[in-house]
């Protein structure tokens, strides 16, 4: 065990945990001058949970889901309802949050199974529209609920958790989510899941239980989306079904795609940056400039996607990118002995499953483009 320990396999836990501790210390010592920072942290943590959980479906299983906000909606409403019911007994306390998260997550996971079932029969864009339809149905049901149950068109009034502490819970949930998903993907189950993405027929032929794995993926993914929903309900005084429309699902999908398909770290970074951009646009472009928010967001989105994915820009991309910049800096810092070490790496046959290197087959050939979730036999 000890021998195999490599820091780079745990780097994302370390970074997330370090940031979490840093922000926790800042929050406890009241170093944030504005509560806005706490709100931003909550939003970012929720977005990261959503993006990482969706990336399992889209990046690793290779199925397009446009209904992720639907699972979040289930979690937000159920968790919110539980918190409303528990508040008189336990108060707006940590146990309330914990129980709500458990209920919201589990119910969302149950819906994941329900939506995972058609996933067995449908593929690609057909599955995408079914997940979109699912999200809209869920939304419509909550929208038309009675005032007493889920608040109907007015939304469900939920207790807001102290914003000083909620993001810490969020950081812990992100760590748990990372642990569950990364370990799953590193195990033989993970390899089975990516093999389904690369070729379902081949996977089936080698005796992989495709049904089982698809259901597992949808369940895990929707569980964490449900948790994100509960966190959302605790970070707002009102849960409103209009929030969870297909547009929101698409926003999460954007994070996953921009982060690079099949890269969990990419999803984390993209979710952080996009949420941050959203908030910045919202706070900077006020008044008459508000109309520019979507405009700038759209242009940034189009340019990034084209820059990241256009086959014609491959050479340009290789010449001017963040990595080459980092390489230049890194080269200066590295000592010669270490560099030799690096060269030797190219001759090493990868025997361990390393999420970013082995699971995504294409990355080895071309480190800059993302993997296609295309099914092999479709064309």
């Amino acid at each position: 065990m000890k021998k195999n320990f490599k820091i780079k396999h745990y780097i994302n836990y370390i970074v997330v945990a370090a940031l979490g501790i840093l922000f926790t210390v800042m929050a406890l010592t009241d170093s944030f001058a504005s509560p806005l920072a706490l709100i931003q942290l909550e939003k970012i943590v929720i977005a990261v949970l959503l993006a990482v959980s969706l990336s399992v479906v889209v990046g690793f299983l290779g199925e397009l889901s446009l209904g992720h906000a639907g699972f979040m909606c289930v979690g937000a409403y159920l968790g919110g309802k539980v918190s409303v019911l528990l508040e008189p007994v336990l108060g707006n306390s940590f146990p309330t949050l914990l129980i709500s998260m458990a209920v919201g997550g589990v119910v969302a996971a149950a819906f994941g199974v329900i939506i995972g079932l058609p996933a067995l029969r449908l593929r690609g864009d057909y599955l995408a529209i079914v997940t979109l339809a699912f999200g809209e149905i869920v939304r419509s049901i909550f929208m038309n609920s009675s005032r007493e149950t889920f608040g109907g068109s007015l939304g469900l009034a939920t207790p807001r958790f102290d914003k000083k502490y909620l993001f810490m819970v969020g950081f812990v949930m992100v760590l748990i989510c990372l642990a569950v998903i990364q370990n799953m993907m590193k195990s033989k189950h993970g390899r089975a899941i990516t093999s389904i993405r690369d070729s379902e027929i081949a996977a089936r032929a080698t005796g992989i239980n495709v049904t089982k794995y698809k259901l597992i993926v949808f369940t895990v993914s929707s569980f964490f989306a449900g948790i994100a929903g509960v966190l959302y309900s605790f970070s707002n005084n009102n849960v409103q079904s209009t929030n969870f429309s297909y547009n929101y699902s698409i926003e999460i999908l954007v994070m996953v795609v921009l982060g690079g398909m099949g890269s969990i770290n990419g999803s984390i970074i993209a979710a952080t940056l996009i949420t941050f951009l959203d908030i910045k646009l919202q706070t900077i472009l006020t008044g008459n400039l508000a109309v520019l928010q979507d405009f700038i967001y759209a242009i940034v989105l189009i340019l990034i996607v084209i820059y990241n994915n256009a086959p014609g820009l491959k050479n340009f991309r290789e010449k001017y990118n963040l990595q080459s910049l980092i390489n230049k800096i890194a080269k200066g810092m590295q000592n010669p002995a270490k560099r030799r070490d690096d060269e030797a790496k190219w001759h090493r046959v990868p025997t361990k499953i390393e999420i970013d290197e082995v699971l995504s087959t294409k990355i080895q050939r071309d480190p800059t483009t993302s993997i296609k979730p295309d099914k092999g036999g479709n064309d």
């Binding site: 840093l22 944030f32 504005s34 709100i39 009034a157 009102n238 952080t272 006020t286 890194a330």
Partner: protein, 386 residues
């Protein structure tokens, strides 16, 4: 792989540095000698017309007040932020405005986001007077006041009006996924005489334009209650003008206002009678309302003219009047007064028999729970064509 790690670390460092930059802002010294009134409303998206109307009118009121010497010599400034009618964006707007030195607020333009705003402002004790978030729950906390009629109140008044008409059958046309429409509808149904038969037709935000089915459901009704906004109402009327009997009466609430000035819609082509129960009529020809209409149209054009703007205009003037009254009473109100102190001062004024005369009413007062008390006038927008 190590490159990726470095990339990750760099990205995270960037985030940290941005947060650190965030934290370095000091809101207290951001006064700059003006009184800052915050506002969060839908400046983009499907409900933008209401948010833009409120923002325009509030800014117009502020300019007028400043040109006139300001509030006791201090200029006022409107901070307008965009929530796109999305409650999840409200907290960001709220804390952003607090950071920029908001002392008092107009709350949110629409009800659903405003419920979020209520909780946040109650925590910090920030006074707000909302022009248009009409839900009954909005003035729940003691820092929250409404300039518009509450939905339930409107529904009740509308039901009484209908009860007195001696009808036996009426149609109701409302939007099932909208809290304004639903709120009025529920109270209307609750207060309606039991002897009156109702035919109900609903629409949702997914289809706000094609009402052929709803029209065919309602076509036998000679009186139709429509607690909806003027855009869908004008579409309904356009599509129904040949199907409905010419002696049908359309009866709306304050959301109807603006229907005459809706661009491209000529209400005279509608044969039926159109009436509404409202606090403002955008075709008013006399009094302060006419004055406001002339100024607003001159500045921003007629196509965003509606009661939202009128109400916002009143809100700004009412807040300023209340602050001036507080100064008369010996309180200190200036650019450096904290939001919480100002809130206590204003609460005292609003609870102390404060009366305000504005565009949407000649004698506006507030009860202790924050609901507005003013006259709802039944306007006949258009008589039936003979």
């Amino acid at each position: 792989m190590s490159k990726k790690i470095i990339a990750l670390v760099l990205a995270m460092l960037m985030v940290v540095s941005i947060f650190a930059a965030c934290g370095s802002k000091d809101p207290a010294t951001d006064g700059e000698g003006t009184i800052k009134i915050g506002l969060s409303g839908p400046l983009t998206g499907a409900a933008a017309v209401y948010g833009v109307a409120v923002k325009n009118a509030a800014e117009m009121a502020a300019e007028e007040i400043n040109a006139d010497g300001g509030m006791n010599g201090i200029n006022i400034e409107i901070l307008a932020t965009d929530d796109a009618h999305d409650p999840a964006k409200v907290s960001t707007n709220y804390y952003n405005m607090v950071g920029e030195g908001m002392q008092v607020s107009l709350g949110c333009v629409t009800s659903n986001p405003c419920l979020e705003f209520c909780k946040l402002s109650a925590e910090d004790n920030v006074f707000f007077l909302t022009p248009s978030a009409s839900n009954d729950d909005v003035p729940a906390a003691d820092n929250a006041y409404q300039m518009c009629f509450a939905d339930g109140n409107q529904g009740g008044v509308a039901a009484n009006t209908v009860n007195n008409l001696g009808l036996t059958k009426i149609g109701i046309f409302y939007k099932s996924d909208d809290s304004y429409s639903n709120g009025i509808y529920e109270q209307f149904k609750a207060n309606l005489n039991e002897g009156i038969e109702t035919v109900e037709a609903v629409f949702t935000s997914a289809n706000e334009t094609d009402f052929s089915t709803q029209i065919s459901s309602l076509k036998d009704c000679e009186f139709i209650f429509m607690p909806i906004y003027y855009t869908p109402a004008s579409l309904f009327m356009t599509q129904a003008k040949d199907t409905m009997a010419a002696n049908t009466v359309y009866f709306g609430c304050d959301g109807f206002d603006g229907i005459e000035s809706a661009e491209g819609f000529d209400i005279t082509t509608i044969p039926q009678k159109v009436t509404m129960l409202s606090h403002f009529n955008s075709k008013a020809t006399e009094g302060m309302a006419a004055d406001f209409i002339a100024k607003y149209t001159d500045k921003y054009g007629a196509d965003t003219l509606n009661q939202f703007g009128a109400s916002a205009y009143d809100c700004v003037y009412a807040l300023v009047a209340a602050m001036e009254k507080a100064i008369e009473n010996g309180k200190t109100v200036d650019a450096s007064t904290s939001a919480s102190d100002l809130c206590d001062i204003l609460k005292e004024v609003f609870q102390g028999g404060f009366t305000f005369a504005g565009v949407t009413g000649e004698s506006i007062t507030w009860d202790e729970s924050g609901y507005v008390a003013k006259d709802a006038i039944q306007y006949v927008i258009k008589e039936a064509n003979a």
